[in-house]
C-alpha cells in the first residue's frame, strides 16, 4: 500500500511539475509539496543518485553549491540540484522527483543540495547524503535559528553515521559537530590581517568545548573564525587537510596546501569570504577524487552569482549592488567590513528591511546590535542613507556606532534614497539590500545610476 502511495505521490508531483512548466514556472517547490503531502516518507522512497552532497551552514552555502555544480558539470557530471528552488524538504523533493523515472528510479549519478540548517532533520535521515559540507555556523535569524550552538545540535542529531563531513576547521562550532563521523577539514592559514583579540561584537566560541575553560586564539580572522587552543585540557583546532595559504585578494590568487603539495588557484572574487567558498568547493572535489589541475581548469570562467553582487559604472561613479542577508548580523558585518576595506570614497544605501515582515508584523531588530555597524564609521564613507521601514532603527544604530550625524540621512521611501547621495566622481555607491528586496534594489540602483550621470555629466 505504501508503495502505491509513493507512486501516486511521485506521479502527482511530476504532473504538477509538468503543469507549472507549461505555465512558464520553475516548478522547484510545489511539486515537492504535493509529493510530501501525499507520501510523507517520499524522500526515503524516491530513487536517489549514488552520490549526494549536501551543503549547509549559515553563510556561503548557495555560492558553494553553485561552485560544486559548475565544477561537476565541467567534469562531465550533470548533477541534480536545488539551485532555483527551496533549500527545505519540498525543494529537495521537487529536485529528486525531477531526476527520476515514472517508476521512481533515479536517472542521475549525483546531486548537490543546498540544505537549510534547521531542515537537516527532515532531510539527512532520509536522503542519507554521502557528504555533508558545513561552511560555517554563525548567528543567523534570532527568531528562527536562535544561536549557532542550537543549530549545531540540530545538524548533529540529523546526521547518518555513515555520512562523511567536510568541515570548516577554522570554525570551531562547525568543526566540533558529530565527532564520531568521518571528516575532512578545510581552513586558511594565518593572514597578515589576522588578529588575536576579537574586534567583532559576535564572538561565539570563547569557551573550550571539552572542559569549558577559556580558549586562547593563536589568530583570529573575524568573529570566532581562526585557530584556538585550550591551555587547560590541550584541546585545539583541527589541522586542515585542505589549507589555503598565500591568499592575495588584490591579485586574486591563493595556494592550496594538501599532503605536502602546494597548488596555485585563481580566486573567483576579491573577498575573503568567497576565497573560503572556493576552498570549500575545492575540498569537496578533492574528496571526490578530482586532481587539482582538473579542478583549476574547471574553475576558469566561474563567477559569483550576479544577483548577490554586481557593479556597474554610471557617470564617474561605480554603483554596486550587494546582497546582505537581513536579520543576519554576521552576513551584514562581513559586508560592512568588506566595503570599509575597499579603496576610495564611498556612499551607502542601507535597505536590508525584511519587507515581508513589515507587511503584517514588525521586524525584531535585536540583530542590529549583534552587527558591526562600527565598520561603517570611516572617513572614506562620506554618506550613509538609512531607508525603508526600519530606517530610524538604522539611523540610531549608526549614531551609536559613532558615525557622525552629518554623514547620515534617513528616509522611509527606498526610491527616494538615491536623491540623498552626493555623487562624487571616482567614488563607489553601495546598495545593500535584503533577500526579499531584489526587484526594489534594482529600481534603486537604476535611479542612482541616473542621478550619478546627471550629477557628473
Amino acid at each position: 500500500m505504501s508503495s502505491v502511495r509513493f507512486l501516486i505521490a511521485l506521479w502527482a508531483g511530476k504532473l504538477t511539475r509538468a503543469l507549472l512548466r507549461a505555465l512558464g514556472r520553475n516548478a522547484t517547490y510545489l511539486p515537492g509539496v504535493v509529493a510530501l503531502k501525499l507520501c510523507p516518507d517520499f524522500l526515503a522512497r524516491v530513487g536517489r543518485p549514488d552520490l549526494i552532497i549536501a551543503v549547509t551552514g549559515t553563510n556561503g552555502k548557495t555560492t558553494v553549491c553553485n561552485l560544486i555544480v559548475e565544477l561537476l558539470t565541467a567534469c562531465g557530471i550533470s548533477a541534480l540540484d536545488n539551485r532555483l528552488g527551496s533549500n527545505t524538504a519540498p525543494g529537495i523533493a521537487a529536485s529528486l522527483l525531477t531526476g527520476c523515472e515514472l517508476s521512481g528510479k533515479c536517472r542521475r549519478r549525483a546531486a548537490v543540495f543546498e540544505t537549510d540548517e534547521r531542515s537537516s532533520r527532515r532531510l539527512f535521515p532520509f536522503i542519507k547524503p554521502n557528504y555533508v559540507v558545513i561552511t560555517n555556523l554563525f548567528r543567523d535569524s534570532i527568531m528562527r535559528n536562535a544561536h549557532p550552538e542550537y543549530i549545531a545540535g540540530i545538524i548533529e542529531g540529523a546526521l547518518p553515521t555513515e555520512t562523511k563531513l567536510i568541515l570548516n576547521g577554522d570554525d570551531l562550532i562547525a568543526a566540533c559537530v558529530a565527532p564520531e563521523n568521518a571528516r575532512a577539514y578545510f581552513g586558511a592559514a594565518r593572514l597578515e590581517s589576522d588578529v588575536t583579540q576579537c574586534v567583532n561584537i559576535i564572538n561565539d566560541m570563547r569557551l573550550c568545548p571539552k572542559c569549558g575553560g577559556e580558549l586562547t586564539y593563536e589568530y583570529r580572522r573575524y568573529h570566532h573564525i581562526g585557530r584556538a587552543h585550550c591551555d587547560g585540557c590541550g584541546f585545539r583546532s583541527p589541522e586542515p587537510e585542505y589549507e589555503a595559504a598565500a591568499i592575495d585578494l588584490a591579485a586574486r590568487a591563493m595556494t592550496v596546501r594538501e599532503g605536502g603539495g602546494e597548488y596555485r588557484y585563481d580566486l573567483i572574487s576579491d573577498s575573503l569570504f568567497n576565497a573560503y567558498n572556493e576552498l570549500t568547493a575545492i575540498a569537496v572535489m578533492r574528496e571526490l577524487g578530482y586532481e587539482h589541475r582538473r579542478i583549476r581548469e574547471a574553475l576558469d570562467g566561474v563567477s559569483v552569482l550576479r544577483s548577490r553582487y554586481n557593479e556597474e559604472r554610471a557617470g564617474g561613479v561605480t554603483v554596486i549592488m550587494q546582497m546582505a542577508k537581513d536579520r543576519n548580523a554576521l552576513a551584514c558585518s562581513r559586508a560592512f567590513d568588506y566595503i570599509s576595506s575597499r579603496p576610495g570614497e564611498k556612499e551607502i544605501i542601507l535597505m536590508m528591511n525584511n519587507l515581508h515582515d513589515s507587511k503584517n508584523w514588525s521586524e525584531n531588530v535585536c540583530w542590529l546590535y549583534d552587527c558591526d555597524f562600527e565598520f561603517l564609521n570611516r572617513p572614506e564613507i562620506t554618506r550613509i542613507v538609512a531607508t525603508g521601514p526600519r530606517a530610524r532603527d538604522y539611523y540610531y544604530r549608526l549614531l551609536l556606532a559613532g558615525v557622525p550625524e552629518e554623514r547620515l540621512r534617513c528616509t522611509d521611501d527606498e526610491r527616494e534614497a538615491p536623491s540623498r547621495l552626493e555623487y562624487r566622481s571616482g567614488e563607489s555607491v553601495y546598495i545593500l539590500y535584503g533577500t526579499d528586496a531584489i526587484k526594489l534594489a534594482y529600481s534603486v540602483r537604476d535611479e542612482a545610476k541616473r542621478l550619478a550621470e546627471v550629477a557628473l555629466s
Binding site: N203, G212, W361, C366, D393, L400
Partner: protein, 229 residues
Amino acid sequence: MCNLYGDPANARLLCGAVPGASAAYTALNSRPLFLDGGADIVYIGSMTERGQAMAARALAPYRGGISECVDGGVRFLVTGNALEVFGRYIDCEDGSRIECLGLFDVYAKRDVARRYNGLYLGNYGEIEIVGFTSRFSHLYGDEDGALFETIRGVGRRPGERAEGLRRVNFMASYVLGPLLITNPLFAKELLRDMGAGVTELPFERAAMDAYNARLREFRNPKTGFDYGG
C-alpha cells in the same frame, strides 16, 4: 557568555550615557564582583540554553550572597532567558531539570522544538514598553512581583499579563530589543533611579524617533504580534 540577541548593548548604553562610567565583567567561574559591593547596577543578559545550566551551576555557591544583594536593594537588570536562572528550576523537553538559584518562586518549562517569537507591548508605570520576545521557554509559578504589565503579546507565559520579575531594585524581563535601546524612556527612568545624574540619553532624539515609530506600529491593531516559531 551572556551575549546573545544584542543584549550587551544594554550595558553599552548605560556606560555611554553616564560620563566616567565603566563596566567590570565577571568570568563564568569567578566570584561575582558585585558581591563585594561597589556596583551601581548588575547586568545579566541572554545566553544559550547550555549557558543557562553553566551559569546556574557557577552561581550556585554564591546563592546566599546574591540573595542578600537582591533583598538588600542592589540594582539588577536581567534580560532574556537570564531571568530563568534566578527562578527555582528549568524543566527541559527531554525530562531533565536544571536546578537554578531559587531566589524567586517561579520555574521555566523549556521545549527547544518550539521557539516562541512575538512582539511585546506593555506598561512600566506610565511608560509604554516595546520590544520582542524570542524564546524556547515560559515562566510559571506564584511569584507576585512583575516588572511590566502586558498590553499586547505574551508575558511570563501565554495568557499571562504579568511580565518579568521585580523585587526591590531587581528587575528582570524576557523582553528583548535590546530593552534599553528600544525603550529610551525606561532607560532614562532607570538612570534616574540609579541617581546617575543623566538628563539626556546619547542621541536621544534619534532614540525617541525610533521608539515612537515602533510604538505606532505596535499600537496598530492590524500589526500581528505572534510570529510563531
